[in-house]
Point group: C2
Chain length 346, copies 2
DNA sequence: ACAACTTTCCGAAACGTTTTGGAAATAATT
DNA sequence: AATTATTTCCAAAACGTTTCGGAAAGTTGT
């Protein structure tokens, strides 16, 4: 039915090997025969079968992304960068949505037992002690985004520094009671980012000589409801915070909602700071710690391709995993302000 | 290197055909031998090579989605539905990001010349006169989402009705000068939704005996900047509108921004209505026409799978393309209000 | 004109499955 | 016990490429 390389060979009066060679831009084929072959290809409207090709080359032309997708606006933003870059390469991108640990191990096995992809991006999903050796043994090119492991090149944002900047800026504004809403990931994947951000907060607190009050720290889902609930709890404390720092913009929006429901004015009665720099933060004029999300996606693909290339070059000597740390920066908008001194007549 | 079906056959003391048959849950294999084979598979940790398998079955286990991705929040929301459903099927989902006509035709050719996917979802991308015959001839199962063609089962929202409801509700509130900000798609794909929405508006106008003023209609990009620019232009007219209906929530947010910059109060000085029902609309308390976005994604996959199944059942008699029309509904929030009668002393 | 290279090309082998025609084993029937 | 029908299984063929060893053609040097 479909036209094969044999048809082309016959039409051009050459052997199949020769057709294959012009297809793969190999040297060692005379210009005149190359012409013949090309014209035959054109005449027959031939396109090589990618399946048969990978059958022997063992290369699929596919990049995989494992991503807890539905969860966060942040992920979507990075995903755009990934999709963009992949489109401009010759690779296809397949998205594996992982929502729980079951799916996670399912895909881990799926992708490792047989080569379905030429490279893999693990998004917010560091492989655990069990999975790590399997991945390294497989030799599959892998890059981690928004996750860290010493065994794979990892692309992270300076979470500690970002949190430090955020909290510090709040402190500089005179705030001393600062609530922190951290994020968890459902399914209990390890998620070090959360810890790093907490550490950043502690550093800022330490430098300013502020005692950490466990009542002012809470981990919730990465959504508005989580942020809202935590904020409500904080603000109903006998000694409520005057500023709240959330580990994501979306949670911060929840804080805004909580404040509104309590008739608290932002930023006068309460400063709120987010994390991520999603488009939503701009619209809501939310102060936040900006992550270079598109860049993370693009760089992720670039590093992965680099790894795939090098794999072919020198089979054995694989480059050591890199740790790439991208900078965040503070974007102060309208939800943070200097602490207003309370007056009785106010 | 990798363990093949021959290894399993040898280990189990059977022929490869038998192994293949137990793999494919075929009948005609004695329980005792099935046991032998299964244990050998387990012992050798064997997994069949998907590539070799598609080589002969011609089925890839992959669903493709062509989508102008980066453009709209709406697309992302539907994409979630797609990814979700695909995850629960045995198919993988590959995303083809198409940003311009060049990419569009590139992928059209890529996917048609050789079978790379078992089915295709065309998102907001109706095939034109040129492409349509190629697609039908290819026999590839296809469903259109947010696009319509008589040749393929199409999943659309009742755009006309939705726009009618939106405009009508504005009219019921006393508005008579209503601006309409339509959307365009870069790359000039055909995009009938836009027209349908315009028709809905005309119908509402007609019923209310309102003259359509071309000055109050403008098509922009599907983004905030577009909405803002259009709104600014409308509002600087000698006789500005008292309500604006935008073809997407994001554009409507742009309208909100324009209003704020002109010190216009929403909804008292200006009513604004969006379209889509993206999460953002909820956060911004924007009145809007809600589309069942997740459902669109899920239904899209379901219909595609259905088509793929039926393709195998009865090779020739293919089901006629369906036109599935999903309902929208009005969600009135805080950006729409009855027209305030202007008073001089106000 | 012949040897010795170099370039160009041919076509069989290989990749790892599923499919299939028919053989072998087993069960049923006479 | 012999024949027939039914399961169960084997192994070759096929899918459409790339690779590779070696043959053919072309080039250069003597």
């Amino acid at each position: 039915m479909a036209v094969t390389i044999y048809d082309v060979a016959r039409a051009a009066g050459v052997g199949v090997g020769t057709v294959s060679r012009v297809l793969n831009k190999s040297e060692a084929v005379k210009d005149t025969t190359r012409e013949k072959v090309l014209s035959a290809i054109d005449r027959l409207n031939y396109a090589p079968d990618p399946i048969a090709r990978t059958m022997i080359t063992r290369r699929t032309g596919v990049l995989g992304v494992l991503i807890p997708f539905v969860t966060r606006a942040f992920s979507v933003e990075v995903l755009r960068g990934l999709v963009n870059s992949a489109t401009n390469s010759d690779y296809e991108l397949v998205i594996y949505n992982v929502e729980d640990n079951e799916q996670r191990t399912k895909y881990f096995n799926l992708l490792l037992k047989r080569r379905r992809v030429d490279g893999l991006i693990l998004f917010s999903l560091p492989p655990d002690e069990e999975a790590t050796p399997l991945f390294v043994k497989s030799g599959l090119p892998i890059v981690l985004i928004d996750a860290y492991s010493p065994f794979f090149t990892s692309l992270v944002v300076n979470n500690m520094e970002g949190a430090y900047m955020a909290v510090n800026s709040l402190i500089q504004k005179g705030h001393r009671r600062i609530g922190f809403i951290n994020g968890i990931v459902e399914g209990n994947f390890k998620f070090n980012q959360a810890n790093d951000r907490l550490i950043g907060l502690h550093r800022a607190f330490g430098e300013a000589g502020i005692m950490f009050d466990p009542q002012l720290m809470m981990a919730t889902e990465w959504d508005r409801a989580g942020g809202r609930a935590a904020a409500l709890q904080f603000l109903n404390l006998p000694e409520p915070p005057t500023a709240i720092f959330a580990a994501s913009d979306v949670q911060a929006i929840g804080v805004l909602e909580a404040a509104r429901s309590l008739k608290l004015e932002v930023p006068n009665d309460l400063s709120v700071m987010g994390f991520d720099g999603v488009e939503l933060s701009e619209i809501m004029e939310l102060s936040t710690v900006q992550q270079p999300m598109h860049k993370m996606g693009e760089l992720g693909i670039a590093k992965l391709l680099e790894q795939i290339e090098s794999e072919q070059m020198s089979p054995s000597q694989i480059k050591a995993p890199e740790l790439i740390r991208l900078d965040t920066w503070l974007v102060e908008r309208r939800t943070t302000a200097p602490l207003r001194v309370k007056r009785t007549e106010d």
